[in-house]
Symmetry: C2
């Protein structure tokens, strides 16, 4: 296993039809991938938030397989799995038990209630201060069988009840899950939605100093189980910079919007600036199951962004034009926010299915320091599944097509996926990527990203205006 490899991001159910099918792909046509992040495969994998609302976070959904199947995948590559740290399903045994028995429940304290945060009552100013990724208030009322009503924090959906991450009962729950993940062969734990986990009255409670304190704490806890920590935070780039030193890995969520900006305007200055200051312990992405995260490159409150509000708006406008407007319909605008969190479209769709632009973007992604990750829809150069979106009403489903194995094999034979797999091979096998990295502006529109290790080098020349690129590399030494 090497950190210079490329990893795949996939749902077991939507890409291979289950753990066995996913392993067949990774042991077959996708053998070049050094790792895989399997999106939530717990019980149930197909809840209201596609697995991010676990009822039993410590068990593999039997419709997908079992822990032995996960271990079989992990035997030959790194496996990343999610730790859903902010909430659990309201249908979980823990929540139902607490709702029924209250203080007598062994899970009493595990869930965050309104009174936990506001023991003396909340005011208008305090209640509206919270940052939330969706419109509306972050509370939902639940009633116990005896009629007692509780007002529980629900940062995301009403069926996703927040944990009180400061409470020992929640720690005990998270440790049970971590033990199961480690035992199942998971090597990296992705902390989902950690930016929202700590609620501090009087603040917006998103990525505060208290959140950073909790990230330190949970990182120590994950490392006790011998796993790495990858933190998912969509936020202003300075917050990404603040969190990067505390953990093993962050995401470079600013890269996709910067690439969309560069490809849309034919300029490279914003991209180059980011390459100079970005954290290097980053997983690089163009697309994920959450669509194309873009908010990270924009301004936040008084803090200027890597892109201006107008430049961000232009990205949304181009995406809407490329998708006949449906990316505007599918994307949700968070509470108080001037623009959507993400573009709900595939990266290939947003680039109007232009192979040259798409492979240029992937080449830049792969040449940027960090650990490149490719989403399964992006690997197959998938276009928006508007039909699935219409059927479910879930905007993100445009970018979550359910592939049969036949569809996968057919797609992998296409020109773009074959070129992409060549890039994966280069990035995984070329020794230059273990060496030194440099970046250079060749002109106002041309960029050069170079890796050098001894006599080996790999150099990417990219022209963002012409939307062309070229890679010059020494031959990959044959493995004896």
């Amino acid at each position: 296993m090497t950190t210079r490899g490329v990893s795949l991001l996939a749902y077991a159910d939507r890409f291979g039809g289950g753990m066995t099918g996913l392993r067949d792909l990774l042991d077959g046509p996708l053998a070049e991938f050094a790792g895989v992040h399997i999106l939530p495969f717990f019980v149930p994998f197909d809840g209201a938030d596609a697995g991010f609302d676990p009822i039993d976070h410590a068990t593999v959904d039997p419709r997908l397989g079992d822990w032995d199947d996960v271990r079989a995948i992990a035997a030959r590559r790194e496996v990343t799995a999610d730790l859903i740290v902010n909430h659990v399903s309201a249908s979980s045994g823990e929540f139902r038990d607490w709702l029924a028995d209250g203080e007598a429940s062994e899970h009493h304290g595990m869930f965050l209630t309104f009174d936990t945060v506001f023991p003396n009552g909340g005011t208008e100013r305090e209640i509206t201060a919270f940052y939330r990724p969706r419109p509306g208030l972050p509370f939902t009322s639940y009633q116990s069988p005896d009629g007692t009503r509780r007002l529980v924090w629900t940062t995301f959906m009403p069926s996703q009840v927040d944990l009180d991450v400061a409470h020992p009962a929640a720690h005990a729950y998270l440790r049970r899950v971590l033990a199961a993940l480690a035992d199942g062969g998971v090597t990296t734990v992705r902390l989902d939605a950690v930016g929202y986990a700590v609620k501090t009255p009087g603040s917006d409670s998103f990525m505060t100093e208290h959140t950073l304190g909790f990230v330190r704490e949970i990182t120590a806890m994950v490392r006790e189980y011998g796993m790495r920590v990858l933190v998912e935070v969509h936020a202003h780039y300075t917050q990404q910079q603040a969190i990067a030193p505390l953990v093993d890995l962050v995401y470079d969520f600013a890269l996709p919007p910067l690439l969309l900006h560069s490809l849309g305007t034919g300029t490279i200055d914003r991209l180059i600036r980011w390459l100079e200051i970005r954290p290097r312990n980053a997983v690089t992405v163009l697309d994920t199951h959450d669509g194309i995260g873009v908010i990270d490159a924009g301004p936040s409150g008084d803090r200027p962004g890597l892109l201006s509000t107008e430049e961000m708006a232009a990205i949304f406008d181009r995406a809407a034009a490329a998708t006949d407007g449906h990316s505007s319909i599918a994307s949700v605008i968070p509470a108080w926010a001037p623009m959507p969190h993400q573009i709900n479209a595939t990266f290939f769709s947003v680039l109007e299915a232009d192979a040259g632009s798409y492979l240029l973007a992937r080449a830049v992604q792969f040449f940027v320091p960090g650990e490149p990750q490719v989403y399964y829809v992006g690997l197959l150069a998938g276009l928006d599944d508007v039909e699935l979106f219409r059927r479910t009403g879930q905007g993100r489903d445009v970018n979550r097509h359910v592939y049969t194995r036949d569809e996968i094999d057919a797609a992998l034979a296409g020109e773009v996926p074959r070129a992409l797999l060549d890039l994966v091979r280069l990035r995984s096998a070329h020794p230059a990527f273990e060496g030194a990295f440099s970046v250079r502006a060749v002109s106002a529109t041309e960029l050069e990203l170079a890796w050098t290790a001894g006599e080996h080098h790999a150099v990417l020349h990219a022209d963002l205006a012409a939307r062309t690129h070229r890679i010059d590399a020494t031959p990959i030494p044959r493995v004896e």
Copy 2:
């Protein structure tokens, strides 16, 4: 004008295509109707809550006509109009002005905020205590142009912001609306959703003693403008009894579920009991634009209902069976409630389009003391508009078909509407209905409702098991 007449309940847009079309119907084929309740025709008549979310409550939507058109209708019959007393649209000038200018706005105080009700902060118990006709919490956050956030009460939809009915600014608003209604020829004001208008911390705030106090106050205010007050409250029958003496008219919302119960079980005991204790200053209905209100006959908390929970459930089950299950899908269950507020279906659909049952139910309605009202869909023996419901996703639209004039004329030629118009004529013209009323159980399944005035009498014999009825009446004296 006579209180012994029958009135029509209709939307100007869905029944006649506007004020002129509605007047043509009332001056033509529907001339027997002594009055009309025109559902909200203000600006706009077609908002998210079909007119019950006014932006300008004092102006006739110009797409329907103007106040002269309303006056023309009022010249020949009683006109009832809604005073939407609980809320206004968040798009109203008043709300936007206050949101922008805060304390400097002339409308400051008109709207109910979280802090108005909880000046020292609200707790979990207090916040979850409120009764609400819909799931979720009754607050919505709004942001002013300068970024100030307000948490405003929204008992119904997020776009319907509640008035602080204790505040002079809200009184001033209500008086402006009342003046416009009175000037427009309106003779009766229907107080919409008044049961929710007063919020009292620590209580469920639905129809409390404070609400009754407000009803007294608003009734006095309406009467100052020379209009009658009809109060709309869906609640336990004892609450209807409590409010009836305070106002001119209430609704008999218990009658429809009792009739459905009697027709479903072939029994008359529950119906007879209600006829003995019900308030007589009531508008009688079988159906309204809100579907078939049924909750009024059921138990509430510890108070037994006119029907038991099981009997209520059986009504819902029969309705679901009669509508292929869609009445279950279309009906919304309020927060904390064990069953829906209303059945979203037409009365004719729920009776499986059986003309005998339907005309029996109408005959009972017309013979019960009070002022009978017929909803336009019920007049035309309309069936559920499932297509409209599917298109809008609004459950109540199954019972809100949009009729063209040709459709109306065709429907009125049908057997059931013709028989119903005969009943309207009898109820309007027969002198017995100005006399004495009596009710008698002829058998366990047969009922007799009789009116006598001097030598005139009109007697309804109804068999709820056989679903047949017969009317014996002296001839209607010819008007010279």
